[in-house]
Symmetry: C2
Subunit: 337 residues, 2 copies
Amino acid sequence: MTVTITDVAKKAGVSMKTVSRVMNNEPSVSKATREKVKAAARDLNYTPNLAARGLASSKSYLIAMLYDIPSPGYAINIQKGATRACREHGYHLIVEPLDTGEGSDYVEVVENLLGHLRVDGVILAPPLCDNGQVIRLLSQRNIAYIPIAPSTEHGEIPIVKMNDVRAAREMTEHLIRHGHKDIAFVKGHPRHSASALRYQGFREAMRASGIRINPAWITEGDFTYKSGVDAASKFLNDKECPSAVFASNDDMAAGVIALAARNGLSVPSDLSVVGFDDTPLADSVWPRLTTIRQPVEEMGYRAAKLLLSVDKNDDTIIHSLDHALIERESSGFFGIE
Amino acid sequence: MTVTITDVAKKAGVSMKTVSRVMNNEPSVSKATREKVKAAARDLNYTPNLAARGLASSKSYLIAMLYDIPSPGYAINIQKGATRACREHGYHLIVEPLDTGEGSDYVEVVENLLGHLRVDGVILAPPLCDNGQVIRLLSQRNIAYIPIAPSTEHGEIPIVKMNDVRAAREMTEHLIRHGHKDIAFVKGHPRHSASALRYQGFREAMRASGIRINPAWITEGDFTYKSGVDAASKFLNDKECPSAVFASNDDMAAGVIALAARNGLSVPSDLSVVGFDDTPLADSVWPRLTTIRQPVEEMGYRAAKLLLSVDKNDDTIIHSLDHALIERESSGFFGIE
DNA sequence: GTGAAAGCGCTAACAT
DNA sequence: ATGTTAGCGCTTTCAC
């Protein structure tokens, strides 16, 4: 029925083990035998049995990505990067969307998951990267994991992140350079650690330029479009209106733009608005958003690489990847100056 | 080290096989032994080894989802539904984003993939569901697959879809009911079969109402925002302007809205715009888009269920799931009538 | 209702 | 550079 390694061995006139060596690209096989085996495998349409490999080697050739991310683009891009790394190592990526919503219990879900499955590693995307219980569960079971964009360091365990503080600082400086002093800030979801970091970057840049922050213009959102609308409605009705708004992500920035439009404010000539993340949305609203491009796919790639790589020479703990400020029309590309 | 079925058997004072029976919820075990075994497993923190199970039962407990979808929200939602079904059956979902771009060769990628891995089934999301080579490859290797939203039937193989034609017809009728006769249509990417179906629905509704279609207002897009802008620029400059635009997806509809705004047209009072898909974007632009909600997560769930279910009583071939017309401000929720 | 033995397809450890 | 043997942890088959 199904073709096994023995069939290939028979056809190629070598031992099982030699076939195994060829399939795993192990060194000590002569070029001639290697070719012979490869040809036989191709002829027979042989595909190795993951389960058998896994059982024999006590590896699973599987890594999992756990996430509960509101933004589909973010999740998909991490997956893209992670699968790219997996392919380089003969691994595969299992996805486990948690989607448990607010205040719900990740642990139960994760526990149930691990009850079925042994993976060789886990990528923890936000906000799971900051969930103490989940992390305890993983270390308890001795499962390797890499947190993506966690709020704190994880001891010896490498983490993959971008520099949210610096990026927010750069964005704020960008606004200041364009002549803005009256800048409002919309914070992100308190559960996501990036929220605090982005706010911190904003404050640092303001302080460095000696600009006073108006507390009435600091509002709390939750990364959704609607929360951007709500936030904007708090400060866009005042007599004292900011000249620029820095929203902690693109969705909220889009909300701010929408409310501005409703209030008859023209962006960017009356009001500059900037976002964060460079999701597809940033390029899909009008005016298009000035924003920070996160290296999301690269983060997924790097995280998977760290899980899979045997190259233990690199003992870097913090893998901080580069972001980029993408300047578009929403921040006074024309108009203000 | 790792706890095995033998450890549990020893602790519970029964045979390996009995433990196996309990773990698999097989019937013929006395209630007492069942409880004893369960307790032992819990105490020992036992988790079955997927690889061993797979090897012994010649199942992998894995299904894969192959996709190359431009829209992250769509892909993520299929994943959500599919993993939900997987959890009900002790399975896991492997994702394989193809992302090969235009005109590139899926077969090579898929072949390489199957070379590593034996999955118990494959979900083919658009546009792979229509790729003859990929499908041939799968049937050749005797791998079960379910196409999501394919353009044609697949013989005996069940397919999961929504009724694009009917949905487009309903949307068109919605516009007509609101008094529109001068309706422009922006087609989708020619590679995606849904494009033709949606256009067909539009034509059917127009014909049924005896409204002539103005050929100058039928344009071809490719599902991107930019193509919506481009399409709109073709008919929004004419003296003869349509009063409504039906774009084949939300991204293009957003593009139409953006161009309308630039041209000083107010949506919906000067121009109604409707989309298709109900992606997050639909709710994030201003005015918010009237659109068709696809049952995407349900499609993922159903596809996985079909792959996993042993319930062969149901021999339905075409699983056509319900859509919904979501009415928001972009189509004259107020204003026109 | 329960158990013993065999074997799934592969790799590890040790030959040669 | 190649082969032999044992065994990974489970399910299957067939006993009892």
